[in-house]
């Protein structure tokens, strides 16, 4: 409150304060940006965040390692499976275990599906904010298919909680693979349609080229990761640079932009969708049978039918639920390439049932912190375009 009051005192009558958000169609979540305007030119943009702060890190300190998984769903809720995967990878790094081949492959499969869905939201909604409604409709049909696939696999569309420490909640069901194959064909066609509507569209060019441009040094200095960093010309992708889950065995390219503006971010995301489809196709080709969770009774829960029929399994179940896993003492930072950039989990363990400290490093917080620099001197309409291309998800921004 004070920040606005002070600016209002300094106003000389020509400047105006406009609130963008916290509840505004283009903020997609509860973000508030205080814009100081001269005419329609932005002099100052002050983001105010925290409207969705619910203390995820504090809660994590009071939940066991397995119990934290549903909270990761609610970080980036557009691609919740990727958060599940990122968190499970971090705890597995702390435990020092390797998960079964099939679990790795299915994790890659669902992560890439989630990346496509997330980029669809970003590109589609960015276009809607700028005024191009049609592309959004073509793309969102595919997003529905992805969520149907998630529902098949995990039982839920958005809050999937699909991973467990040491593997997955369950194997993908029968019928998942043929439906994914059909999705690959249809999604490819939908991306083509979207590109026909936007990529060479002069209005789209006018609205996006040169808007929010950023150079590679600045992008790194602001802590950019993910598509926004790659659009600025830095070919940094953790799937290639620091491979996890066997990403080094897949054949895919990293699209890189040159100017870092909204148009380049759009192009990078569209190409990443195509590359993700390529990875999914390779996963489907090599998917091998086997267990989807480590068979270590000290880490993963025994199957239900054994719990009901065997004494040892019942004991393992009881011990895991009541006492939790035996965790080593130490600290790890594990990062995965989520749809928005580097999603990191820093876990400090004191050997107890719960993490001593769990830190989520959200990819969009550093990106959003550069908002003022990105929109200074532009028009309100451009601020909306930049905001959309940054793909700010309040769930992971505020935690």
């Amino acid at each position: 409150m004070e920040s606005i009051a002070m600016t209002r005192q300094q106003l000389d009558g020509d400047h105006m304060i406009v609130n963008l958000g916290p509840s505004h169609p283009t903020t997609h979540g509860t973000l508030r940006i205080i814009l100081e305007l001269e005419g329609e030119t932005i002099l100052k943009a002050t983001p105010e965040i925290g409207y969705l702060h619910r203390g995820v890190e504090k809660l994590g300190e009071n939940l066991s390692f397995q119990q934290f998984i549903p909270l990761t769903d609610r970080l980036n809720y557009c691609s919740s499976i990727m958060n599940n995967v990122g968190y499970a990878c971090a705890v597995e790094k702390l435990l020092g275990i390797e998960i079964p081949k099939r679990a790795q492959q299915i994790r890659v499969l669902v992560s890439e599906l989630a990346r496509v869905a997330d980029h669809i939201v970003c590109v589609g909604v960015n276009a809607v904010d700028i005024g191009a409604f049609t592309a959004f409709l073509y793309l969102f049909k595919q997003r529905e298919t992805v969520y149907d696939l998630f529902e098949m696999a995990a039982g839920q569309r958005l809050h999937t909680s699909f991973t467990r420490i040491g593997g997955l909640f369950r194997d993908i069901p029968e019928g998942f693979v043929p439906l994914t194959e059909r999705f690959l064909v249809e999604c490819e066609a939908a991306i083509d349609e979207c590109e026909r509507l936007l990529t060479r569209n002069p209005i789209w060019h006018d609205r996006t080229k040169g808007i929010g441009a950023i150079g590679p040094e600045d992008a790194v200095n602001w802590g950019y990761t993910g598509p926004c960093l790659r659009a600025a010309g830095v070919p940094q992708d953790l799937r290639k640079a620091q491979p996890y889950l066997g990403y080094e065995t897949y054949d895919f390219d990293i699209p890189v932009g040159t100017t870092g503006d909204v148009f380049d971010r759009y192009l990078v995301r569209v190409e990443e969708m195509r590359q993700s489809l390529r990875i999914i196709r390779q996963v489907l080709d090599r998917l091998e049978p086997g267990p989807v969770c480590v068979e270590d009774p000290k880490i993963s829960l025994p199957p239900k039918e054994k719990v009901y029929t065997r004494m040892e399994s019942l004991i393992h179940h009881f011990k895991l639920i009541m006492h939790g896993m035996e965790m080593p003492v130490g600290e790890v930072y594990s990062a995965t390439e989520a749809a928005n950039g580097e999603l990191g989990f820093y876990i400090v363990s004191d050997g107890g049932k719960n993490p001593y400290r769990i830190r989520v490093r959200p990819p969009c917080l550093p990106i959003f912190s550069s908002f003022h620099d990105q929109v200074k001197g532009t028009l309100i309409a451009d601020a909306v375009a930049v905001l959309g291309a940054m793909n700010i998800i309040a769930g992971e921004l505020d935690r």
């Binding site: 790094k93 802590g223 001593y356 912190s369």
Partner: protein
């Protein structure tokens, strides 16, 4: 790699080190922290990935070990090497800001101030980031109650506001 460089160029700066599960961690005293940051920046650690803190209220306060660890994660984009730097600070002690060198430090430092109450000296806008200005206490301290206590001060607040000063 980088740790040998640090040992060579800032001898004695590292007071503790370990490499658990392949994560390189070094502990440095606050006095040599800024020199270390200069060195890291020169050596290519230009992406400041994260700043956070860990509260250890049980830890005995002595000359060089304070209540909090401020934890920095750096990434070298050229060599893909990661480095974790930890600096111990006591309750009420301030850290030097990195906003001059890394713009991304701005919000990360505000978040650490908000949730732990560690101030950063020289920060241009040392205000809370996630909670509101009048919020009583600092939520990620171990002595902050899990249910949030009385954040709206319905029963009259006794907790300190922003370390004693009201916004």
């Amino acid at each position: 790699m980088i740790i040998e460089h640090i040992d060579a160029q800032l001898p004695g700066a590292i007071t503790d080190r370990h490499a658990f599960r392949g994560d390189q961690t070094i502990v440095v005293p606050k006095a040599s922290f800024l020199d270390l940051v200069d060195l890291l920046h020169r050596e290519g650690f230009q992406l400041l990935v994260d700043i956070t803190a860990v509260d250890w209220p049980e830890r005995p306060e002595s000359q060089d070990v304070g209540r909090f660890d401020v934890v920095y994660h750096w990434l070298n984009l050229a060599s893909q090497e990661r480095l974790r730097v930890k600096v111990a600070v006591a309750d009420g002690e301030a850290m030097p800001t990195l906003t001059g060198r890394f713009k991304t430090a701005d919000w990360f430092e505000r978040e650490v101030f908000d949730l732990f109450g560690i101030r950063f000296e020289g920060h241009p806008n040392m205000k809370r980031l996630l909670t509101w200005d009048d919020f009583p206490g600092h939520a990620l301290r171990k002595d902050f109650p899990l249910d949030g206590g009385d954040p709206f001060c319905m029963e009259g607040c006794t907790a300190p506001y922003n370390n004693g000063e009201r916004a």
